[in-house]
Symmetry: C2
Subunit: 483 residues, 2 copies
């Protein structure tokens, strides 16, 4: 076990807080001897499994089915869609040998799986009755990143889900984009308490091979923007490259319309940890906490047996109700126990009140104590679990809302940009004709055009001007410094 106390000012020094908590709470180990590859220890892997479970369930309830494609993609496949290969060529890890044999064709470690899925889709889809086809896989993908890597945020291997959906019409495909957004809302915001804004990205920043890219950005505590999921309307770009066609009811063979969706499971975990945590360590949504309750007996020498027995009763009651519960019977002092479990993000139950048949609950998010009668312990804990999520979500929403600013000039943007957060500005266009302005913002202020929000999209008034080039402003765009 690591140090027994954790005390870092998250607001003042988020970067140090993040680097320390992921190590000291034993979430990951980045001492693995290949750059950009990390080890997920039980405390993070258990949460990643919970997030996968929730996300997969939300996808399956909407008609997605699980598949698993090979980790390797032959070089030829990658070359079929021109823009796509250009986007990934520099980032691919190549397998060239098996044992001492040189392979006939090089194999890519999948950077994303469009070019693995779509040749099979061309075989599977025959007629209109095979559509829609909605399949997903949970897996890791590999990118030979040249930027600095950061655990859970940018790595050379990372965990995600990729859903690849196929439709007969453009309208159906666009409806899927909305459904993808709805799933993100349900899982990331409602169940994990992390608010985000779903944007249409500028054309110059879209997924290579897509017609349009949409993505969810959340705000980290330092005000920087983290993309945690993206969904792409592919149109017929890939169906033409891979010859994915169906026989329509009018007897004609037509190319399908496609979307793909990629929630970044480990980035979602990074956001959950960062946004909800406090100066004492992790604060976790109840549903994904590896340990939901820890029972900390606080006995004196005389009462050791009684208190421990009482503790076991509490543990049994909570476990029988399906909760993940641990008891800390170690020899550490109560203070040391509290410090440790606080850092690990676990709320405590201290059953020192044997006589009165009640239990003192310590709530991790508010750090307040509540007493509950023993016979009501299960319902009290469950209710508290809901309240914790509710509180974390509200707190996170409040933070995000406080970090959305408006500016009408480059000067204002420059001044605001030091705070981090989103800055809304009038901007010429998110089409390719706005690219020059976008690049200038990046060059001069380090800010990216994150796009136009899909919800509550407001058009600027007639006389509004792009803050960069002064041409007519076609959109209000959100700017931010991205991870």
């Amino acid at each position: 076990m690591s140090k027994e106390t954790f005390n870092v000012d998250k607001e003042k020094n988020f970067s140090e807080w993040f680097n320390r908590i992921i190590r000291e709470a034993q979430l990951i180990d980045d001492r693995y001897n290949v750059k950009g590859f990390i080890v997920h220890r039980p405390w993070s892997m258990t949460m990643l499994k919970q997030i996968y479970r929730i996300y997969e369930d939300a996808l399956e309830r909407r008609g997605h089915k699980p598949v698993l494609f090979p980790t390797v993609i032959p070089e030829d496949n990658l070359y079929k869609e021109e823009e796509h290969v250009e986007g990934f060529r520099a980032e691919v890890f190549w397998i060239t040998h098996g044992g001492d044999d040189r392979l006939d064709k090089r194999l890519a470690l999948r950077p994303t799986s469009e070019t693995a899925f779509y040749p099979m889709y061309a075989l599977w889809i025959r007629s209109i009755s095979d559509l829609p086809l909605k399949l997903y896989q949970s897996c890791s993908v590999f990118r030979y990143e040249t930027k600095a890597t950061k655990p859970l945020i940018r790595g050379r291997e990372f965990l995600w889900i990729e859903a690849h959906d196929v439709f007969a019409t453009e309208e159906d495909a666009y409806r899927q984009v909305e459904e993808d957004m709805e799933v993100a809302e349900e899982v990331i915001h409602k169940r994990l308490g992390v608010p985000f804004i779903f944007f249409e990205r500028p054309q110059w920043d879209k997924f290579k091979g897509a017609v349009k890219t949409f993505a969810a950005d959340c705000l980290m505590p330092d005000g920087r923007v983290l993309q945690i999921a993206s969904t792409h309307y592919l149109g017929q770009n890939f169906s033409k490259a891979f010859e994915i066609m169906y026989l329509d009811s009018d007897g004609k063979r037509k190319h399908v319309y496609q979307t793909c969706y990629g929630p970044g499971i480990w980035r979602i975990l990074a956001a959950v940890i960062s946004i909800h945590g406090d100066n004492n360590g992790l604060v976790l949504p109840f549903e994904i906490a590896p340990v939901q309750v820890v029972v900390v007996p606080i006995p004196t020498k005389e009462t050791k047996d009684v208190v421990e027995e009482y503790s076991r009763t509490v543990v049994d009651m909570l476990r029988s109700a399906g909760l993940r519960v641990e008891a800390d019977f170690s020899d550490k002092t109560p203070g040391a126990k509290y410090y440790y479990w606080e850092m690990m993000g676990v709320p405590e139950v201290g059953p020192r009140e044997v006589e009165g048949k009640y239990v003192t609950l310590f709530r991790r998010d508010t750090r307040k104590r509540v007493k509950a009668p023993l016979e009501k312990i299960v319902e009290t804990v469950k209710k508290l679990g809901d309240e914790i999520l509710e509180n974390l979500r509200r707190r996170a929403e409040k933070f995000m809302n406080s970090m959305v600013f408006r500016a009408e000039s480059m000067e204002e943007v420059r001044r605001l940009s030091e705070k981090g957060g989103f800055i809304i500005v009038p901007f010429c266009s998110i089409g390719y004709d706005g690219e020059e302005c976008g690049l200038r913002l990046k060059r001069e202020l380090g800010l990216e055009v994150r796009g136009v929000p899909l919800k509550n999209r407001v058009k600027p008034p007639e006389d509004a001007r792009c803050i960069v080039c002064g041409r007519k402003a076609g959109e209000y765009v959100y700017l931010g410094k991205a991870y």
Copy 2:
């Protein structure tokens, strides 16, 4: 969808049966354009996920925790344990490039993860209080197989669990081997209905780097043996190579003792499919069936609305009880529906009996019809689910028991070997001094020494002789033809 009827004589031609069912029931697609790599379609992926869930749960209940290590292992790591690298050197896929850059050090796609885990174990384990350490990961591994590949049985990428456990003493490590066997018994035999024998393997057939290898073999319908899980006592071989030491309570630093365990999740699925299936297609244990019940309405023109409404009621009742239920409202004939769902291994509920408020259940394993009143549908279906598993398991046990033979001479072995199954013979030794005899059996009869069973191990009488060399027989060993 594939053909609507499936009718292959499994007993007479198991190989054809297997090759057809995995394709026609859309379990896998082996047309992916890299040799030895297959695509898992929803029907197999859903079952694989269920098997993973059951296995992981059984491991976690016994103190294992989940982790995830990188897919890549640097070349240096692989070379640290001499025997181990010799065992895998010819089978490793090598990554040599990232983008256009040649990597400083080649990276192996993990063939198994001892050499990824153990350098970290050397960092994590400090004192006796860190032991035992029991961690597992669910992942795919990669082997550049030179033998012919076969979907779900031998591939260049396959799905498994690997558990890596660390102990202070040899006794604790051997107790873990027993626990591993117990977990296999619980999951593979009790919950999936596949009986097996757990053997100590001969020394010449052990995992490279282990002191002893133990493995579970089941019998496929053609009488050939399939290894579905193995567990290895590693002693201190790896802890010495990787310097994994702990400070004992006597103040001395000591090397740990280790075990590793590898259930082959997709081979378990291959066994489930093969052993339980019949001439009409899949027959699945209720717990892992992707669809546990299909409701097939059989309306006439006049009763279409009423029957469909009644069907929906049945579906809702079963779904509310947490069962995986589909309704087949397609325009196919009832016969075509039955054929299709039989092939897919799903028992049916035919609610044509609106008036009498009952439902006709068609049980997939016995192919018998049972009537159940509507209000008892949930409990009847659940009870039937248990009975199906029970029946499948008994049937499989009976088959395996009927395929265990005894022989006292090479001549008898030769005659029996045509039937397949296990042949028990007196044999000199499963130590290295028996290797010559083992190789001769393989060369002359194509039979492998699978080892000595861990349960009911019987020693041969004093005067028994090895059937190959005529020396004193130290063991009764089981012979079999392996996949």
